[in-house]
Assembly symmetry: C2
Homo-oligomer: 149 residues x 2
């Protein structure tokens, strides 16, 4: 199995940028290299259970990627950046490719928590939940949305 | 209008304890005294829109309290505590008193972000979302749940 190269991200923004790039690319190894290798890390997918620890989190993203292509863009970021901890709350604009070439754009609210370690800034928490309908910008399809991240 | 006394909370845990006490008491002034007086503070109620800034957040909690008594208990806290920023992800066990003396226990996942300032630790973000059904412990009533926090 190929492993992502060891890249040191020097800021929370760098790590966040790489996080959404890895999601778009469906690159599980690159994605998990961004997570702190910590048994206390936390990940909540929209409507999903709270996952604790690197292994459970890896399994969940593997499942997300198995559901198909993910187009995701972070927007309207609110940051609390410190020396060792940074927190970004943002809107994830997610395009979901449905059947029959229909597409849905959904909005997910996410709180991302980064910690600084010897190998740069790593993701420690990701709490995502479906945004309120009023925060949605468009639905291009009347089809029900799959429960993709 | 009475205002809550100026209490300086010396740790994120102190502020969090006071936060859930204020929610139980339905004390809006005490609650808002715990929030950073910041136009960039963020609050997301379960299923609700993202609220930005002290005033919008105050209005939302006032609405929550108008819906009735709130019994809420933080549980299973996962903490990332730094010198100036602390993040707690936890399960909020909420008892909702319905009609006909029926009660529901629902679980809410919350990420609370605290920052240290000259007047102690203040809440900067609160991102709450409904927990996955598997995380629920009991439903004591078949009635539909109101959208209380």
């Amino acid at each position: 199995m190929s492993r992502a190269p060891k890249v040191i991200h020097l800021s929370p923004d760098d790590t966040e940028h790489a996080f959404y790039e890895a999601l778009e690319a469906g690159d599980l190894d690159a994605l998990m290299a961004l997570w702190a290798d910590d048994e206390h890390s936390v990940c909540v997918h929209p409507g999903g259970p709270r996952l604790i620890g690197h292994d459970a989190i890896r399994d969940s993203w593997k499942e997300v990627f198995a559901n198909g292509r993910l187009q995701i863009r972070p927007a309207d970021i609110r940051s609390v950046d410190g020396i060792m901890i940074a927190v970004h709350n943002l809107v994830q604009q997610v395009v979901i490719s449905g059947h029959q070439e229909a597409q849905d754009l959904i909005h997910i609210l996410a709180t991302n928590v980064y910690i600084k370690g010897p190998t740069g800034w790593k993701m420690m928490m990701h709490h995502a939940s479906h945004a309120h309908q009023a925060d949605e910008t468009s639905h291009m399809s009347p089809e029900p949305l799959p429960t993709l991240h």
